[in-house]
Every structure is written in C-alpha cells, then in structure tokens.
C-alpha cells in the first residue's frame, strides 16, 4: 500500500515537473487582431482598403519574424455596417484570449461596443468619434476626432472668408448621414464654430443609402450657404458633388469633405464635378499617398496589386497596424512575449505618445488621458482632376472639451 502511494506521488511529481518544463519552453501563442470591418455596404469604400492596409502591414511584420517571434494574426469579418452582425461576431470571439485588439469602422457599432466592453481592457480601434476622447476608456480613434477636424475646418473657412474679402459671417452647413456618425462632428464642433463667429445653418441629414441629394442641396442654396461640410463615406461626397454640379451650385458654394472622401477613385469617376472640393484629412491623400515608400511596398509586394488600383484609404489601415505593432512591441518588452494579454496591450496603447507613423499621419497622441490618434490634419483640394495639398499639417483645436457631455 505504501509503495503504491509512493509510486503515485512520483508519477504526480513527474507530471507537475513535466508541465512546468512544457510551459516554460512552449512557444508563445499567436495573438489576433479582430477586424469587424465592412467589406460590403455603405462604408465599404473606406473600410475595405483600410482593412487591407492593416492586414498587409501585419503580414509584412509577421513575414519579418513578427514581434520578437510573436505573430499577430489578422481576423477580418464583414459586418456590412450592421450593428447586430458586428456584435454577434464579437460575442463569438469574446472569450478568445488570443484576441488582443478589435477594429471597428462603423460609429454606430462603436457606440454599442462601448457599452459591451466598458469593463474590459480590450483595445478597440474606431474611426473618430469624439465621445471616446471625452470619456477616455478602451476606445482609440485612428486620427483626430471628428469635432476637432471640423473645428480645424472652421479655422480654414474663417481664413478663406477673410482672404476673399467677404464681410459678415460665413454661412456654414453640415450635409451628412442621418446617424451617430453624421451628427458627431457637431458635438463640440457647433460650439467651436459659434465661438469663431461662423453662422451655422440647420444641418441636412440624409439616410446612408440616399442616391440623390437634390432636395437637401436646393434647401442649402436657398438658405444662402457659403460653405457646406459634407460627411459620409465616398462615393457619398462624390455623389453630392455630382448633384451639386448638375444644379449649378459648385460655383456658389465651397464644398468641403470630411475625412472619408473623395479618393482617387471618386475623382476619376466625376473629375469635373469634384473640381474645387476641399478635403480635410488626417492621412495622406492623392499623389502623396501613391508616392509613400511603405504604402507602395506593401501594396505591390504584400497585396501584389499594381499602383493604379491603389486607394488612399489603405494608409489608414497601415497607420492602425503601426499603432498595434508599436503597442505589442512595448508589451513584449515590458512583460515578455508569453504574457501578452489584452490588459497589457491596452496599457501599452497608453504609452504610444509620439509614435512615428512614417509620415502617413501625424505622430501618435495616445496617452493615459488622450484617445485621439493624432492632433494634426492636412487640407487638400481637387485641382485639375487630382487631389493636391493646400496646407501642411495643421494643429487641430480641442472642440471636444467645448461640448457638455453627459
């Protein structure tokens, strides 16, 4: 009996010892970036190239051996700008500990995910919702938040108005999607515009699937709009300009696009209609993007596509990929590659202040108090069928803090 017990104790000790050896020598498991993207639907024009950018950048890093041998796998899911699809996809992977960060393109999905994950330290990449800057948590925006970009545009408008020698207040209107994204820029942006002396006209908001914008445009014309800030994801801006040109409004009104359009594609479809449109952007556009060495390399060697099929939205995804790799690198340095958890990656995101994105966008501004990915934007103008820069990087004002957040 005694011999029997001793035998069992020896076996148990060997098992425990074996487990210890096994764990200490086991290779670190790959980690996953889950991209709840929209390969189809209203924002696919932006989401698809953006997702390609992140996927290709992660592949590029993995091909070079990963982060200290740790590979970051890309898991892309098409959510079609549909909150239910996105949440369902997230819930299927929620317990998967390999998922250390999530990407979201849709602002409405972001709002829902915020409620779902507010107690978790899971990094979520989102486009530019200012609410996440107002209440810093686990959501990180790609660039400056929408209201800050709108505020920078108001500054540009006031300068332009003065340069034109116009008197009185410029009349500015927002023409955008009738959803959480479409209104976001005004939460703080409205207060900033009023403070700077611009006259904000009632916004014209339309559903995402709208094909014609004549009614909204004729109303803005009647209201005497001087500047119209157009939201939506291209080809929305392109379609708005197509309709505005057909109604003869582009000669009276200066149209300005928010971040998400037009790309080289939109310009190639309606070059005449888009002529003169100003675009505010936190990522490189036009020839600047086409000529960027990293984008060029990734697009042609990882994506294996010719440059004439390149979309500038690709750079957004590459920028987000650089952030993720930067954070994982920091995590590995701090805790070792076997202890890369969601919480640690989240902690690393808060330390990314100043990360260089190779000129694709401004330097990263994530910090313990800041969730906006950058604080600079650039203004471009469609000229001669091309999108050319008209300013250098300019600092975005802080419009978020001007809004009374609940």
């Amino acid at each position: 009996m005694r011999n029997h017990s001793i035998r069992w104790l020896v076996v148990l000790a060997l098992v425990i010892f074996g487990m210890g050896v096994f764990t200490s020598t086991a290779p670190a498991k790959d980690i996953i970036f889950m991209d709840l993207s929209d390969y189809t639907g209203p924002v696919a024009g932006l989401a698809l190239p953006g997702s390609m950018g992140t996927e290709d950048y992660l592949k590029y890093i993995n091909n070079k051996g990963g982060v200290e041998g740790l590979k970051i796998k890309y898991m892309g899911i098409d959510t079609r700008y549909d909150v239910a699809r996105a949440i369902s996809a997230f819930k299927r992977q929620r317990r998967n500990k390999q998922v250390v960060a999530v990407g979201i393109v849709s602002t409405p999905v972001g709002k829902m995910m915020q409620a779902l994950t507010k107690k978790e330290k899971l990094v979520v990449h989102v486009p530019g919702d200012g609410e996440f800057q107002a209440h810093p948590g686990n959501f990180f925006t790609w660039g400056p938040v929408y209201q800050d970009a709108f505020a920078a545009t108001i500054d540009w408008i006031m300068d332009d108005w003065e340069k034109k020698g116009e008197s009185g207040k410029p009349k500015v209107a927002v023409l955008s999607w009738d959803n959480a994204y479409g209104r976001e820029m005004l939460r703080g942006g409205k207060e900033y515009a009023e403070m700077k002396g611009a006259q904000l006209l009632p916004s014209e908001l339309f559903p995402t699937g709208t094909l014609k914008h004549d009614v909204y445009l004729t109303r803005l014309d009647k209201a005497g709009a001087n500047y119209v800030y157009v939201g939506g994801v291209d080809p929305v801006q392109t379609n708005v300009m197509r309709d505005a040109t057909a109604l003869g409004l582009t000669e009276k009104i200066q149209f300005i696009s928010d971040y998400w359009g037009p790309t080289a594609l939109g310009i190639s479809l309606h070059p005449k209609a888009l002529e003169g449109m100003v675009v505010v952007s936190f990522f490189l556009r036009g020839q600047e993007a086409f000529d960027h060495p990293l984008l060029k390399e990734l697009w042609t060697t990882v994506r294996k596509q010719p440059m004439d099929k390149f979309n500038e939205g690709y750079g957004i995804g590459v920028g987000a990929g650089i952030n993720l790799v930067g954070a994982v690198t920091d995590t590995v340095k701090r805790v070792g590659k076997n202890k890369v958890t969601r919480e640690e990656v989240h902690n690393s995101y808060l330390r990314l202040t100043g990360l260089d994105r190779q000129g694709l966008a401004g330097r990263c501004t994530y910090s313990p108090t800041r969730r906006a990915g950058a604080d600079v934007v650039k203004f471009y103008k469609v000229t001669g069928g091309k999108i050319v820069p008209i300013t250098d990087w300019v600092q975005t004002p802080d419009a978020v803090s001007m809004h009374k957040w609940k």
Partner: protein, 294 residues
C-alpha cells in the same frame, strides 16, 4: 416659386425613373401574377453589364447596350427556367418568396463585385446642367426621363400592336383560355421574364446615369414595387402615373416638411402614399377591380 418649380420638376424626373422600375414588375405580374422583388437586382445587373461593356470592353454605346440587353435577357430566362417554372401551380406566395431569395442572392454578389466602390457613366454620357423655364435641371435626369417616355411608348405599342404582345395580354387574362387558343403559356412565361429583364436593364441604365452604380441601386427596386402597387399591379399607365406622383410627392414633401419634422420625409413618403392608396383604392390607381361572383 422657383424653389417649388424646381422641386416639382426634379420630382417629375425622378418619378420617371421609378416608373421604369415599376414597369418591369408590372410586366411579370400582368402575365404570371407573380409579384417580383428580383427585378431590383436585374436592374442593377443591367446597369453593371452596360458599364462593363462600355468602360471595360470599350464597346461603342449601341453595342454596349445590345450586350447588356442580351446578358440580362439570358439572366431573366435563366431565373424563370430554374427558379420560377418549378413553382407553376404552387401558391403564389412561394413564387414571391423565391423572387426574394433571388434578390438576396443577387445582392450578395452585387456587393462583392462593387467592393464598396461605385461606377459611373459620367465619362460616356451627357452631363452638366440644362435650364428649363429658368429652372436648372441635371441633363442626366432629362435624358433619363426621355428614355422613360420612349420605353412606355414602346411597351404600349408592343402590347397593342404585336401578336406576341397580344398573346401576353391573353395569357394574363386566363391561362387556360389562352392555352386553348394555341398560345404556349410556358413560352409566354419565359418571354415575359426575358422582356421584363430587358426593361429592367433599360431602367437600371437610366437610373445609374443619374445615381451611378452604387450599393443601394438594387433597393430602388423596392420603390418600383411600391409604385407598381400604387398604380395597380396590372397597369403600365398606372405605373407611369404612380411613378410620377411618387417622385413629385417625395421631393415636395421633403422640401417643405423636412425642416419642420427634422428630416427623413423623402424616405417615408412612398410608404405613406402606398398606405393611403391601399386604403382608398385597394386595386391601385388604374388597377383592374376584380369582382368575384359567388
């Protein structure tokens, strides 16, 4: 006043587009009594085929149109042969659901082809602005409205003057009677799907000329169905009338009510009109009132 006139004329032109989409739905219903949702997709694929022939294959305009029409005629025949014919004699609801399935399947493929981008005929067809009685109107919409009028005239001649058209009308009246007069009802069914697919192609091209080939394009087909219901499912003149009414109603109501209610009126106008018409004229504006003898 100019603003009202502009909204009215823009609505009229937009209504012509809805009428064309509805025409395809009416054609199928006239002969088969099937309410089709699939035509939203046929319309979108028609526009896509035309764009492909025009800008990728670089064919001349007429040839590109012929290619698109042939491609969609084959597609229409294919749908009838594979999805609709096995349902002859089955409840009409099953056929309706089958067209819905075709719509969903077509939509998935359409979205995958587009990949979030859009395509346009802007480079190939006339654009810009034309002034009509002092009101600036998009040239593309004027052209598309002209196509609409030509299409309805052509269909009127086809159904009144050609043997085949008369055969289709006879089949619509009574399948058995038509069969007894020597009309091959199955051939008529196939032909009507081919014809309606070709009409949907023309509607799709006219629509895409104004709105581009963009992901919501097939969903205009849903509006076409509403127009067909409002006009009376068997009536082509009803489709034209209802389309024009809807276009005007949408633009005028959105133009004047949006600022009061905060927007979105254009999107609900069609459904309000449908509800109203179904309440006061359940068979539609020019639909056939069926009296059942007991």
């Amino acid at each position: 006043m100019t603003n009202f006139l502009q909204l009215l004329l823009l609505g009229l032109l937009e209504g012509g587009l809805y009428a064309m989409v509805a025409a395809a739905v009416v054609l199928v219903y006239k002969s088969t009594h099937v309410v089709s949702l699939a035509h939203g997709q046929l319309m979108a694929y028609g526009a896509l085929a035309f764009w492909f022939a025009l800008s990728v294959l670089k064919l001349p305009f007429i040839l590109a149109l012929v290619v698109a029409l042939i491609f969609l005629a084959i597609t229409g025949w294919f749908i009838e042969r594979l999805a609709m014919r096995p349902l002859i004699g089955q409840p009409l609801f099953a056929a309706f659901l089958t067209t819905f399935a075709v719509f969903l399947m077509g939509d998935g493929i359409f979205q995958l082809i587009l990949k979030g981008e859009s395509n346009s005929f802007a480079k190939y067809l006339p654009g810009g602005m034309t002034s009509v009685i002092g009101v600036p109107l998009p040239t593309t919409q004027l052209v598309s409205f002209g196509v609409c009028l030509a299409l309805f005239s052509g269909l009127a001649i086809f159904f009144r003057r050609t043997k085949f058209g008369l055969g289709m009308r006879a089949t619509a009246e009574d399948h058995q009677l038509a069969q007894s007069t020597g009309i091959t009802v199955r051939a008529i069914f196939s032909s009507i799907w081919i014809l309606s697919a070709m009409v949907a192609t023309i509607a799709g091209i006219a629509l895409a000329n104004v709105m581009d080939i963009y992901f919501p394009l097939p969903y205009v087909g849903i509006k076409g169905l509403i127009v067909a219901l409002v006009g009376g499912l068997e009536s082509l003149p009803g489709a034209l009338l209802a389309g024009l009414i809807l276009g005007i109603l949408e633009n005028i109501s959105a133009g004047y009510l949006d600022p009061i209610v905060g927007g979105g009126v254009k999107e609900v106008a069609a459904y309000v009109l449908l509800l109203f018409i179904l309440l006061v004229k359940p068979y539609g504006l020019l639909g056939l009132v069926r009296i059942e003898r007991i």
